[in-house]
Structures are given as structure tokens and as C-alpha cells.
Symmetry: C2
Subunit: 251 residues, 2 copies
């Protein structure tokens, strides 16, 4: 039985720069907040600070836009340099309309503009790219926290994605370490003995969404601690949440 | 600034029957758990018990399958009576493949099988339909709680929906009362002065997802209380989360 959860915002991380030790920054902010990490805590960390720490920032003016990027830019609101960066971060275009690109990233995630983002970067004309390997980012952060603090947590790297049919973005998991983001009830009996056929729950995405509620877009809270969630620590991957193209009706 | 949230599972609701007073059942379970509702609490209630209380149950054998329902059934795993019910609950078929129907419900929600569900019903061959007007269900529950207990809460009626591209279902809001499920940051400056252009967050869905983490599919926890979430009480609707077809790239 799942008990009460706490979703705790972590403040005071401050500006993150390329090469920063994210584990150390997080542990320092936790200490300042007099919060002690526990085994089993789930740490949700926004992609933005992971990308910054990993130096995944780029000045779009430094890339030469292709003819195709120029064509996309002419139809929309973003400039050709930006569109060129988006194309380079994509392995497939899922949908194009009036300058909006929904693409599949090299990780297999499908989102607007391949996750390339201009907000919350902090001037200089830089934009952020998604971490090159967001599972690896999560694994490294989890290991660093274990080494520096001796606790075994789960880590979720999150980003806000739009979705078809529904308004608004929701926070989802793009990198995972120490927790299976997909809980499968297929074949399990409900309390009435009905065997469920299609009931896997994307708890990785739900944990990311829960964390977003204390983060906000403009509050400068890039990390949340989720305490009290029951799970079995395990090696896993956000790839568990990427639908196999063979079974995707909306590819 | 958003403070810590608590996500509290509500146990002991027990079996819900057509005509039951859901507000009374919830308040009784809260009392048994020695939990006092507060102004501002967000109550997330699964569609299943709302549908049961509203008598939105049907024996599929009682409907005559059309030729089209029989054709769908022949391609899939569900029977023709079930498919007939799904068709009657739909106003548009978004996608059909190997007996799987993704449809638009009469409310405008797009989901598998129009939300018609066989699990957690409790025998007799009955299946549940979504509430006829899930916003109205939320408004009524909110009003009944105010009358019976004198507190002003927000209510979210939730259901687990699959989504394109990503594995697993997540809990989303299909009925809303007392809270705006969409927080719009468009035009707001980020901490660095960058004005955001496409940043509305579907907090209604995120609250539903957060609640699911303490519900589980087989734990018999159909209600969660979210305490500590900052919002301005307001009349609103889950229709805020339904994308205008004119702006939907994946219709």
C-alpha cells in the first residue's frame, strides 16, 4: 500500500554553469534547506540545469543554416539558425506546420523543436539542447550523490512536453536512473478478479509531473525531492517510455 | 513561491453503488482516517467511482451490435456488444487498428475505447462509461462537500489515458471544479527577461498524475487529497485542456 507522498521543492540551486558538479550543487542546496536525502527519495531534476552543467548550450549564430532551415524559418517565427539547430538535434520530422516542428530526437523522444529551448538560459544569445544521453546524465548524478552522500536515490531528468489533443505541456521523464518508469499491471487481477489487459502506468512521467507542481516555470526551482514513493530500486531507462514504432498508431 | 505538497491517499471508500452520495462517502472515509479537509485542498477522484455513483454502468449484452461494431470486433479481442457501446460513446473515430479504437468522446476527450472500461467494476458483466458531463460531476461534488462540511476545495475527476509516442498511461483531468487546469505563462518573462511564447502548463493533468502515484490500479484507492498546492479558486472546466481542433496538428 502506498502511503502519503511529499513533493518538496529545492530552492537556491542558483545559476548552473558548464562543468559544474550538479550533485554537489544539489547537496549544498539541500543542506542550506536543512533537508537530508534519504534512501529511496526520488530526485526530479529539470533538463535545463543538466544541459547547462554538461555544456549543452549553443549560440545558434554559430551554425550555418541550410536551405531547408531557411525555408522553415520563412514560414514561422523562429530564425533560420535556430531551425538549423533543431534539425541537427532531430532524426526525423514527425509534423511540420506553420513553422512549428514536431520532431523525433536522437534519443527517440517526440516533442516540439527537438527540445531546443530559449527560455531560462540567461542571455548571451545561447539556447539549450537536451542532454546528449539523458539516461547517462541520470545515472551519473545518482552515482555522484551516492559517492558524496552515501544515499541511494532514484533520479529522473525531466522536461515539459506538449502532447496531441490536449492543451498545455506536462513534465515528463527523459532520463531515468534507479527506478523503472513503467509499472506494468498487464495480467494482474483487479480487486474483482478481472485480469487487466492494457494497464501499464508511466509512473516516471507521473513523478515528473508531480515535481513540476512545485517547480513552476518562473520560480527558479529546478529540482524537487519526492519522498515516500514505494518502488523497487532497479537499473532502468527512459527508453522504457518510448513506444516501439511497430506499435505506434501515431508515428 | 510554491511550498511542499502532500499527496494523501484516501482509503476505505468501499464499494460505490448507483445513487450513492459520493461527498458523504468521501467525508466519511476522511473522518475514519482522521483527516480534516481544508480550504484549498485539491480532491482528485477517479472517474470509476463517479461513474458508479451516477449509474453510468451498462451491460453490453443489452445493446444490439451494429454491422460496423461486428466488423471491428472481428478484427480484435473485444466483442461486438462492447464495441457497440464504444461507438455510442464516441462522436468521432480518430484511429482504428487491429481492433483498437481511439475515439473522441462526446466531451471532446480523445482516448482508447471512449473511456469504456471493464476493470474494477465488480462482476455482473457490467462495464463503466465516462460520466455524462464530468465537469458537472466535479461541480456537484465540490458543492456537496461545501454544503456538508463547509470547506471550499477544488475537485478533479481523473482517468488514465494512453498517449501517442510514449508507453504507459498517465492520469489526466476529465472534469474540473474550482481550479483552472491550465496555467498560462505566455507573455511572462522568465528570470532572465526572456518572454515565453509557448508555455502553458496543464496543471490539472499534473495534479491528476500526482494523485495516481498514491492510488495505483489495484490498491482500491479511488481518491487522493493534494494539500499545499497554491492556486486561485475559480470556476473553470476540463474543456480548457481540450485542444481547439483548428490548432491540433494530430487530429
Amino acid at each position: 500500500m502506498q502511503d502519503e507522498l511529499r513533493i518538496i521543492p529545492l530552492r537556491g540551486i542558483g545559476e548552473v554553469r558548464a562543468g559544474d558538479d550538479l550533485a554537489a550543487l544539489i547537496l549544498h542546496a539541500l543542506a542550506a534547506q536543512q533537508l537530508e536525502l534519504c534512501d529511496g527519495d526520488v530526485l526530479v531534476v529539470t533538463q535545463k540545469i543538466v544541459s547547462k552543467a554538461e555544456g549543452r548550450l549553443i549560440d545558434p549564430q554559430s551554425v550555418e543554416p541550410s536551405a531547408f532551415a531557411q525555408q522553415i524559418a520563412a514560414a514561422g517565427r523562429k530564425d533560420a539558425h535556430y531551425q538549423e539547430v533543431v534539425l541537427r538535434e532531430s532524426r526525423r520530422i514527425v509534423k511540420m506546420a506553420s513553422g512549428v516542428l514536431i520532431t523525433e530526437t536522437h534519443h527517440g523522444f517526440i516533442c516540439a523543436n527537438a527540445g531546443v529551448d530559449e527560455s531560462n538560459v540567461g542571455g548571451g544569445g545561447l539556447i539549450t539542447l537536451l542532454p546528449e544521453d539523458s539516461d547517462r546524465s541520470a545515472v551519473q548524478l545518482r552515482a555522484a550523490i551516492h559517492i558524496q552522500r552515501g544515499v541511494t536515490v532514484a533520479v529522473i531528468i525531466s522536461d515539459t512536453f506538449g502532447r496531441p489533443w490536449r492543451e498545455g505541456q506536462v513534465n515528463v521523464a527523459i532520463g531515468v536512473a534507479g527506478i523503472d518508469p513503467l509499472v506494468d499491471y498487464v495480467g494482474v487481477d483487479d480487486p474483482y478478479g478481472y485480469t487487466m489487459h492494457a494497464s501499464a502506468i508511466a509512473i516516471g512521467d507521473e513523478l515528473a509531473s508531480a515535481a513540476e507542481l512545485v517547480m513552476g516555470k518562473i520560480d527558479g526551482v529546478p529540482v524537487a525531492v519526492i519522498r515516500g514513493y514505494s518502488y523497487t530500486p532497479t537499473e532502468s531507462s527512459a527508453q522504457r517510455l518510448v513506444r516501439d514504432p511497430r506499435f505506434d498508431l501515431f508515428r
